[in-house]
């Protein structure tokens, strides 16, 4: 297993101009790249882990599947954008099958869910390796080159990534707050029995919410593919970090998700300049544990778990 290769830490771009302002802006943008990805991956996890109380250890594989979708489309001669459109669909398909075949049968057995989803995660990893072969898969970004910002020169694709991630998050907020499906989700989260009482099909709502989370994680995988090293085992780092996001941020609100992502992503990006990525990861883990000890319900809200 090549663990360091697929760390989200590799989403860092090296600074081009060595003055202080440049350093600051570059660090900020690097952090923002990582935070964007974490928010997208964490969103699905916040739905399944935080709200449905399902510990899905195959969540990282949605990211992997999304990245492989982009690679596959590109290798067949398609454009990056076509691949990026395929990524959430691939994530959704895998998520939907997983929910239907495994997770819905195990809602009342948390440890079994952990074991079964981990099994699925291994099957998906090895399945991808057997299908696509060993070694990292190349994915080229749609735009090479850089953009000259006021204080620094920054790779253009990363700015696009940040933009798409922000737009997606905005879309999710609108979906949850404005549509009737969003209302269903909020009702189910507030009180499952009552939701059933007023005629909401909670099973269906869970399934759709889960699939939706998988699709967003797939999109994140597609977005990060040109920056990361695309491997069947790349998912586990996103899994661990996304769980930190949810644990630190607390569940139940978009605000918590953002706070958790900023905490984990920001800390990782800053530490990555000072020390080795694995030590940075260890410190982030420790910080997350300490944060949980001090604020058991998350940094951002008082919702009980």
């Amino acid at each position: 297993m090549p663990p360091k290769a697929c760390s989200p830490a590799c989403a860092n771009a090296s600074p081009a101009r060595p003055d202080a302002m440049d350093f600051l802006v570059t660090t900020l943008l690097n952090a923002l790249t990582l935070i964007s990805i974490l928010m997208l991956v964490g969103l699905g996890l916040a739905i399944s882990f935080g709200l449905m109380n399902v510990t899905n250890l195959a969540h990282g594989e949605f990211v992997t599947v999304g990245a492989f979708a982009v690679y596959f489309v590109q290798s067949m001669g398609g454009s990056f954008w076509l691949g990026l459109a395929a990524a959430p669909i691939a994530g959704a398909v895998v998520g939907c099958i997983l929910e239907f075949a495994i997770i819905r049968h195990l809602y009342s057995r948390p440890v079994s869910t952990v074991l079964a989803t981990w099994g699925v995660s291994l099957i998906l990893q090895q399945g991808l390796e057997l299908t696509f072969g060993l070694g990292a898969k190349p994915v080229t970004p749609p735009i090479e080159g850089t953009l000259d910002l006021l204080f620094t020169v920054y790779p253009a694709y990363r700015l696009i990534l940040i933009g798409i991630a922000m737009l997606t998050l905005l879309g999710v907020i609108l979906l949850i707050s404005r549509t009737s499906f969003g209302l269903d989700i909020r009702t189910v989260i507030q009180n499952r029995e009552m939701a059933e009482g007023v005629g909401i099909n909670t099973r269906r709502t869970y399934a759709i919410a889960f699939t939706f989370g998988a699709a967003i994680a797939g999109l994140a995988g597609g977005l990060v593919a040109p920056l990361a090293i695309v491997l069947p085992q790349m998912g586990v780092n996103y899994l661990a970090n996304a769980f930190f996001v949810v644990i630190v941020g607390g569940v139940g609100s978009i605000g918590g998700l953002v706070a958790g992502s900023v905490f984990v992503g920001g800390l990782t990006s800053i530490l990555n300049y000072q020390i080795s990525p694995s030590l940075a990861q260890a410190i982030v883990l420790l910080a997350a544990i300490v944060a949980v000890r001090l604020r058991p319900n998350g940094l951002f809200n008082g919702a009980s778990r």
Partner: protein, 328 residues
């Protein structure tokens, strides 16, 4: 209750007897194979001691195995340290226990249980493996450290030298037997009963005056210490240490050994470790990437078909048979 204890001791005695007569029939290579499998069996028992009694799953137990292994390797490879084997084992046990104590303190006293605990320990395992790879000046990076000498020490006039197959087999078997027996007597006595109570209803146990977080912490630390011991033994027998030993795949495999062998039985996981490793060697000889794939399938099968492990087949058949008889 009493009958169950008697059955356990009976099976334990049979296993010990088999381990004693095995060298009469096996050659040196076969002895080393079983010896190494027994070390992993000890590792599995250490996880079962925690998971089986508390119901909380640690998903990064290989981290403690790896920490023990690396400490043992670093101590015995350093010529300046006297009594390297004994000090190395002590350091391995203490190191693993120390890491478990820090992580466990924050989690248990922070009210973290269940899935949250599983995930944090999963992350811990990932990070340990990364650290082993990237801290190459100390750990030797991807290739690890080689040339670790076999265990050798003097204790009260007794000279122990484990460079030969048979002595090392006997030494390991004895340690595993003693450790499993000790863990079993702890977990069936007062300590284990209170842990079961905490697993059933932690608030109630606390309202009766039990310090649940402390008890969970001590159990976790003890479990990690045994895992560290297993890691230390393993690297001396294998002669090398590598990042895989603290990796996620090993953490995963040890869960399978426990789940297949039967959670909460302590002896089942040891047997599970031995048999599954034999199966792994056979399967991996066809295609190395087939094994993780199969492992994944085993997880899913356990959950849906055999939630209580292989040993439960016997109980199920028995109840099926009884049911049939009653029906007739």
């Amino acid at each position: 209750m009493i009958a169950r204890d008697r059955n356990w001791l009976l099976i334990f005695a049979v296993c010990v007897a088999l381990a004693i007569v095995y060298p009469l029939f096996a050659d040196g290579y076969q002895l080393t194979v079983i010896r190494d499998a027994l070390i992993f069996g000890l590792f599995a028992a250490s996880l079962d001691f925690f998971w089986g009694r508390t119901g909380i799953l640690c998903f990064g137990h290989a981290a403690f195995f790896g920490i023990g292994g690396y400490i043992m390797a670093l101590v015995t490879l350093n010529d300046a340290i006297p009594f390297a084997s004994l000090l190395g084992i002590m350091g391995a046990v203490a190191g693993a226990a120390f890491v478990a104590a820090i992580i466990g303190y924050f989690l248990f006293f922070g009210g973290i249980r269940g899935s949250y605990f599983t995930i944090v320990t999963l992350a811990m395992g990932v990070i340990c493996q990364q650290a082993a790879v990237s801290w190459s000046s100390v750990t030797g990076g991807d290739s690890g450290l080689i040339g670790i000498p076999p265990i050798e020490f003097d204790l009260g006039g007794l000279h122990v030298d484990l460079s030969q197959d048979l002595p090392s087999y006997i030494f390991v078997s004895a340690i595993v037997a003693v450790a499993v027996l000790a863990l079993w007597s702890i977990s069936r006595g007062r300590w284990g009963t209170v842990l079961t109570a905490i697993q059933d209803n932690e608030v109630r146990a606390a309202a009766l005056g039990h310090n649940a977080p402390l008890r969970l912490l001590v159990t976790f630390v003890l479990s990690a210490a045994i895992a560290g011991l297993a890691g230390a033994l393993y690297v001396c027998m294998a002669g090398l240490v590598a990042p895989d030993l603290s990796g996620l795949l090993l953490s995963t495999e040890v869960i399978v050994w426990v789940a297949v062998g039967g959670r909460g039985t302590l002896l089942g996981p040891v047997l599970g470790a031995i048999f599954i490793q034999r199966a792994q060697q056979t399967i991996s000889s066809f295609n190395p990437s087939l094994w993780p794939l199969l492992l994944g399938c085993v997880f899913v099968i356990i959950v849906f078909v055999l939630p209580d492990g292989i040993l439960s087949i016997y109980a199920r058949l028995k109840s099926l048979f009884k049911g049939r008889r009653r029906a007739q």
